[in-house]
Symmetry: C2
Subunit: 109 residues, 2 copies
DNA sequence: AACATTAATCGTAATATTGCGATACATATG
DNA sequence: CATATGTATCGCAATATTACGATTAATGTT
């Protein structure tokens, strides 16, 4: 035990959960907000921006890359990161769909 | 080490991360979808619906309650759960704001 | 009161995440 | 080629999460 029983759930549920997990850490939220704010390829200064150790930052960047939501391009010695527009759009759409309006008035006892 | 360094991030970043964490498990997604689908107070049949052990299901329900997104009302022997409309609306708004449109065309190198 | 039913909590095991120092690796630059 | 720079990976420790059986607690039924 200890591992999530993914086989009990639909692919859609597992995917949305995985997407939520990707942004379920303040450092990863901060990275994404920084990239969005810059609205450009950001080369090199994410470690100083975050305040976490270089190794830790690299790990968070890796998770965001694995989730597909950011992209890293090698530029000489450094690596430039930016939002992956298609994935960003998909995240936006799926979360919006999940939280779509429901008639919640008086649904509780 | 091992614990998130929340002091490095803004309150907003920590809160959004916590909200994402609340839905970062397929069982919790499934519970929320079920409650939304029923659009009513659901009494008692969440355990059978999920397929996880009763103790595990109860734990996930507790997390959703702690996150404020669901509500549990005692009704005799059983407990009735429903979406907490205000929190649901806030989740919707904050996630929407986070994923708001940005000019992402050509932002990458 | 005795028993049944339902949910929460406890205790524990397995696994995952977070964080960092040390090291390896890749590409510039002198 | 030697060295500097920026990033990824390794190995480890601390903490958190997931899952479940067993137990407890609370209410309803006979």
């Amino acid at each position: 035990m200890g591992a999530t029983k993914t086989e009990l759930f639909t692919r859609q549920q597992n995917e949305l959960a995985a997407m939520a997990k990707a942004i379920a850490h303040p450092a990863r939220i901060a990275i994404l907000q920084y990239l969005v704010k810059k609205n450009a390829c950001v080369c090199g200064d994410i470690v100083e921006e975050l305040g976490l150790a270089q190794a830790t930052t690299s790990q968070h960047l890796k998770e965001l890359k694995n989730a597909g939501i950011i992209q890293g391009n090698i530029d000489g010695v450094s690596v430039c990161y930016c939002i992956e527009p298609k994935a960003w759009k998909q995240y936006k759409e799926l979360f919006t769909a999940f939280f779509k309006d429901v008639d919640l008035k008086g649904s509780c006892c």
